[in-house]
Amino acid sequence: MLSMPELERLYDAYSVGLFDYLCTFVRCEAAARDLLHDLFVKIGARGLPDSIASEKAYLWHLAHNLAMDALRRQCRHDRIHVRISADQDALRSFEQCGDPDAADFAAQVRAAMDALPPEQSSIAQMKLWDGLTFEEIAEVQGISPNTAASRYRYAIDKLRGQLHAIYEEIKP
């Protein structure tokens, strides 16, 4: 049984990444927030299985399943959110620092990430900002580690191409 402090620890450690992951698929912050809520309700009710190798991979796997179920429901009801509108994008931006160039770079990274196909951007964010290994990513999405690695490389190459100009200006 999961204790309340343990549930809070999981939330503090992973909620931002899980929310970002859910947004990548459902393309709507309100829907992603509801799914994040559902995910923690599920964990609160069931706890974490003893047999899991990585709690991070387990949580992202749960999020992946919830996102896929939500997408199926959206398709059924013909309510697919094709793009995240500008006013819904407030939570998914990166933290601002004082440097306007860095802020501009961060905004362009977010825009470039959103332009990637979900199967690439989701892997890029798990790898870059959530610290999952390719083995864990493979477990989350039910693909091979090689596929995860190649999708990551595609994503990075596309980001590099799109952000080349601004990165050249700000790189140390």
Partner: protein, 99 residues
């Protein structure tokens, strides 16, 4: 091996979620009280045991049944019955009624 570009991307930090989300989610996601239902492995074990019991019951040949020996009912003799009734009636008529 991460190159400079990837490291630069990694240095970006995502915005934290609104604090009120945590309060709302924690309120509803509170771990539930322990359930009275048996653990799943125990339920499956009991189900399997009952299946084995049922299977054994079906497959085991039944023992030959021993017939219950009962005393045959005496044949009803209507003549004897009539004599008995007559005797009883005569005895009742001979006996004086109690005071």
């Amino acid at each position: 091996m991460n190159d400079d570009f990837e490291q630069h991307l990694q240095s970006l930090h995502r915005r934290p979620l609104p604090a009120e989300w945590k309060a709302i989610i924690m309120r509803t996601a509170r771990p539930s009280a322990p359930s009275l239902r048996p653990p799943r492995w125990l339920a499956w074990g009991m189900a399997a045991a009952w299946c084995v019991v049922g299977l054994l019951h079906v497959l085991t040949p039944s023992l030959p049944s021993t017939p219950v020996v009962t005393a045959p009912a005496p044949p009803i003799n209507s003549d004897a019955w009539a004599q008995q009734q007559q005797l009883f009636a005569s005895l009742m008529s001979d006996n004086p009624s109690p005071p």
